[in-house]
């Protein structure tokens, strides 16, 4: 019963406190995708007239102080300081060097207290005190001694604090806006795609996931998310193209050319959150921004073989889903970078996870092709049957690809032979290939249900 009363008391107290808080502070936070945020903190300040120091304690602990600026009517800024000297017991003692403190000795046998005034001489390795004419080391005997300081030094604080010294004109309360950049806030998109095997359609939900590790809580903030990375292009996801190394699988099949109705800022898309929200420190927050049903999707198989790739055992083909982001028969939106997770219903109708794939910022009207994982039943074995040296710089390679399908339905595997470097020609092949690019040949091989298929090709490479 006491707990009930207690919690009622709490809530009532919150009710009383909340409107006042909302009235004198308005926060707006703009979060970019690459760990950067612009915080605009608008609050009422009391201007006394004349020189005055204004402290902002609840700014981000990771604030970039050089980007901070305070704007308010009828004041001029003298200087701006960011104090990151934090209040710790050691600092407290260090700042007391040359000052008097009170020490309280406690007699371990009787518990009796003896008070003395002491002058702190040094704090190097241990605390050296001058008590009257005696010099002692604090707690040298290991007995309990309390040290009481008169006050906490001015510029030592629990949290890093931004302070601005201003000269105010007329006295009075007026609104001021503090804006600064801070890392520690970031966002990405998370997509949930439910694939319906019966009619080859997907339902896609998009969530904005934002995380805050900046050290403070942003209360009741108006939040705007910016899709696009202002300073760096693609946060290092792309590997450099090494000599004949395998490139990462491209997910964007066709770049879109449609423009959506979403708000833009330059080349970036803006995702404002509909309501004010509190972004607590270390919180992970998700807000929905996309919900589309019944988008046609295509399921296929893909196998990429590197140049002269040969395998002792069959390798699984990749299971690939592709769909469009176009307004016609597509998602009808541009997609901010993130991770798309695929689900599919099992025999009982419960959704089960079948794999995920990362996507880049994708314009509207694009075609995406995403690999969710390896197919258990569709496998390919690539074999270099023969390598013949035609001349010093001219080789002939006979390749054989054996495809197997343990599924009770026929499948078509998109087979890609990569690394056709230099002057590479296909002199013979059992099925017509298309050259997707100079370095990649592509075959669409149909494998009947519960059966095998084979493809041979002879490459003539000269360099």
């Amino acid at each position: 019963m006491r707990e009930h009363l207690l919690s009622i008391g709490w809530v009532l107290c919150l009710l009383a406190g909340a409107p006042a808080m909302a009235a004198d502070r308005t926060l707006s936070v703009t979060i970019y995708a690459d760990d950067l945020a612009l915080v605009q903190d608008r609050r009422d300040i009391e201007v006394k007239g004349g020189r005055q120091r204004i402290e902002f304690q609840d700014v981000s602990a990771q604030i970039r102080p050089e980007t901070a600026s305070l704007t308010a009517g009828d004041i001029s800024i003298v200087e701006q300081n960011f104090d990151f000297d934090l209040l710790t017991p050691a600092k407290l003692m260090e700042k007391a060097v040359g000052r008097e403190v009170t020490i309280v000795r406690v007699n371990p046998a009787t518990g009796a207290e003896t008070r003395e005034e002491a002058l702190v001489l040094a704090t190097n390795g241990g605390v050296v005190l001058k008590i009257g004419q005696r010099i002692e080391v604090l707690r040298d005997d290991g007995l309990p001694v309390r040290v009481i300081f008169d006050k906490v030094p001015e510029n030592l604080r629990a949290r890093p604090t931004l302070s601005v010294t201003v000269i105010g004109g007329r006295a009075g309360t007026r609104p001021a806006t503090l804006s600064y950049l801070t890392p520690g806030l970031g966002w990405r998109a998370d997509y949930v795609a439910l694939y319906n095997e019966a009619d080859s359609k997907i339902d896609v939900q998009g969530w904005v996931t934002l995380t805050n590790s900046s050290g403070v809580t942003y209360d009741n903030a108006q939040t705007l998310l910016v899709a696009g990375s202002p300073t760096q292009v693609d946060g290092g996801g792309r590997q450099p193209n090494y000599y004949r190394g395998q490139q990462p699988r491209p997910t964007l099949q066709q770049a879109g050319t449609e423009s959506g109705s979403r708000e833009r800022l330059g080349d970036y898309y803006l995702y404002p959150l509909a309501e004010r929200t509190t972004i607590a420190n270390l919180q992970t927050k998700q807000v929905s921004f996309l919900d589309v049903h019944g988008v046609p999707a295509e399921h296929g198989y893909e196998f990429r073989n590197r140049w002269l790739g040969t395998a002792e055992t069959p390798q699984s083909a990749k299971s690939v889903y592709s769909f469009s982001t176009s307004a016609h028969a597509g998602l009808g939106d541009q997609l901010p970078a993130g991770v798309l997770r695929f689900y599919m219903r099992d025999k009982r109708g419960d959704p089960q996870f079948i794999g995920e794939s990362r996507i880049d910022h994708t314009p509207m009207g694009s075609t995406l092709s995403l690999a969710t994982g390896d197919a258990f039943d569709v496998k390919v074995r690539a074999v270099v049957d023969k390598r013949t040296r035609l001349s010093t710089f001219n080789w002939q390679s006979d390749m054989r690809y054996e495809l197997s399908n343990a599924l009770p339905r026929p499948v078509t595997v998109k087979l890609l032979q990569e690394g056709l470097w230099g002057d590479s020609r296909i002199t013979a092949e059992s099925q017509k290939s298309t050259r997707r690019s100079a370095e990649t040949a592509e075959w669409a091989v149909t494998v009947p249900a519960n059966a095998k298929a084979s493809l041979t090709a002879t490459f003539d490479t000269r360099y």
Partner: protein, 549 residues
């Protein structure tokens, strides 16, 4: 500190009822969200996925690299207006960005996962600038004094508080001191997921919360028993799954999925699990001290601590227990197709307790025809090489061989029959095998079958040499091809005739030009398929060349 934590938990359990009553009062104020607690799961479904990086082999209890999809059915009562719906007791390995809540009325505003957990340091951090009570106990008399004060700072691991007497540092005096706090500042014991939702009217709904959680894994553990005549084997298998999370999953529908699914190496959402109040002090050197360095005790990250705990389980004992159970009859898992993956459903509801590994029967097949194949790999120019041959058990995964079902990757223990009992012969790994694929179980080296390779004669054909003028008229380089007759002896000390495969790995463009045994080809490589009679030695001679077309 333990006392304070327990009190926090206790009051949290009592709160929901009182908060329900309050929700009505709060409905009038739109800015405030009423706190609503979802019921504990009334139904649970768990689907365990293997570690995406492990292509074969069994699980490691100390490092569970897989994950699970957990779906919980819960009942929620929402008041009219804005409410904060909290889901307590989710698995601690939850990846908050994967959480999906279905069944709520329209009006989900946002989903949150708080990363700050209730811990001693979190309590102090939340109390900075707020009134607390300092408890100071006299060691001699046992009397404790309560002193009202304010925490001024918790920076750098030390605590500075201020009372009416002045500023002091916590636990720097050598007296027993501790803090007592006013409330738990809305901190939860485990990562808690909450949803901000607005409902037009009070509703009761059944919702499903599903999410991916780390620290699960599974693998298949096969036991193959080779018959005394060596012509057939029996194959049995267990699904071995493990939960490394601190929370159990009671009476759950359990599934495992075979096949490799893509996982993007996801960034881990920030989480502060806190730590003890360290009470760092000012320099405490004394005149009898040698120079000393501050030792800062670091709190272990969540996963690390868990892994250490899991490491306490002896995997060997586990495996032995698994083997002992082989003879027991059990209900088998049911297999179904899930897209391009294989889903295995445990037929009955089961409880997956915290930090537990569990075994469910996967399959039992008997009298599978097998062949023993010995083999060796030789590079084309190996000279004076001697090695034991490699033994493989080979069969085909089809109905004719009493198999013909998907075999998920795992570990195989091969036992040999001996006088009615079985002995462990060899252990090896198995990859995912689809129907109709060739199954090869690695049996290790066989010292009774030895392979010795040597170059018998080497010659240079003058017609095939080339002069390369390096400095014309002064220095010449001669390119010549050494032609060697290679000689391989395969000796069989076994009392039975064996099948032997000698595989050659020739340099690029190399081709066998002469051989005294019929030459075949496998995977683009030359191979001699030989039959070695009991207790005899067979010699193969061959010659290879770089060829130009």
């Amino acid at each position: 500190m333990r006392g304070a934590t327990n009190r926090g938990r206790h009051s949290m359990r009592l709160l929901p009822a009182s908060r329900f009553a309050l929700a009505w009062i709060l409905a009038a104020t739109p800015a405030m969200a009423a706190d609503t607690l979802a019921s504990m799961p009334s139904d649970l479904s768990v689907t365990v996925y293997r570690a995406p990086t492990r292509r074969s082999g069994s699980i490691t209890l100390s490092a569970l690299g897989g994950f699970a999809l957990i779906s919980e059915t819960r009942i929620v009562r929402l008041p009219a207006g804005l409410s904060r719906l909290r889901f307590e007791g989710v698995a601690d390995g939850i990846e908050p960005s994967t959480a999906i809540v279905t069944g709520l009325p329209a009006g989900v505003i946002e989903k949150n996962r708080e990363g700050k957990l209730l811990s001693p340091t979190a309590l102090v951090a939340a109390a900075v600038g707020k009134p607390v009570t300092l408890l100071r106990t006299d060691k001699k008399t046992g009397k404790s004094a309560r002193l009202a004060g304010t925490i001024r700072s918790d920076a750098g691991g030390g605590v500075v508080f201020e009372t009416s007497e002045g500023a002091e540092a916590l636990r720097c005096s050598g007296l027993p001191e501790s803090l007592s706090f006013m409330g738990v500042a809305d901190l939860a014991a485990t990562p808690t997921l909450s949803v901000q939702v607005r409902s037009a009217e009070p509703v009761t709904r059944t919702v499903t919360l599903s999410y991916l959680a780390r620290d699960f894994d599974w693998g298949a553990d096969y036991v193959a028993t080779v018959a005394a005549d060596g012509k057939t084997m029996d194959l049995g298998a267990w699904v071995t799954l493990a939960n490394g999370n601190g929370g159990g999953l009671p009476s759950a529908q359990l599934q495992v999925v075979a096949g490799r699914v893509n996982r993007e190496s996801g960034e881990v959402e920030p989480l502060d699990v806190g730590g003890p109040i360290l009470a760092q002090c000012w320099p405490r050197g004394s005149t009898s001290d040698l120079p000393q360095y501050l030792q800062i005790d670091r709190a272990w990250p969540l996963g690390a601590a868990r892994n250490r705990a899991a490491g306490a389980i002896n995997p060997m004992a586990m495996a032995a227990a698994g083997l002992a159970e082989v003879t027991a009859t059990a209900k088998k898992v049911e297999q179904e197709q899930l897209g391009d993956l294989k889903l295995y459903r445990v037929p009955e509801r089961t409880t997956v307790a915290s930090r537990q590994s569990k075994q469910v029967r996967l399959l039992d097949r008997s009298s599978i025809p097998i062949t023993h194949v010995y083999g060796a790999d030789l590079a084309g120019d190996d000279d004076a090489m001697s090695a034991a041959a490699h033994l493989l058990l080979r069969t085909i995964n089809d109905a004719a061989h009493h198999l013909g079902l998907p075999l998920p990757s795992g570990r195989v223990a091969v036992f040999a029959a001996r006088d009615g009992a079985t002995l462990l012969d060899h252990e090896s790994n198995l990859r995912d095998l689809a129907v109709d694929e060739e199954v090869e179980v690695d049996m290790g080296d066989s010292p009774d079958v030895q392979v010795r390779a040597a170059k018998e004669t080497t010659t240079i054909d003058p017609a095939r040499t080339h002069e390369l003028p390096l400095v014309p008229g002064v220095l010449h380089l001669r390119s010549a091809q050494v032609e060697a007759v290679n000689h391989v002896d395969i000796s069989n000390a076994l009392g039975v005739e064996i099948q032997f495969e000698l595989r050659l790995r020739l340099p690029e463009g190399g081709r066998v030009v002469r051989a005294d045994h019929p030459l075949g080809s496998k995977n683009g490589r030359p191979i001699f398929r030989l039959t070695i009679p009991a207790n005899e030695t067979v010699t193969v001679r061959y010659q290879w060349q770089h060829t130009t077309g």
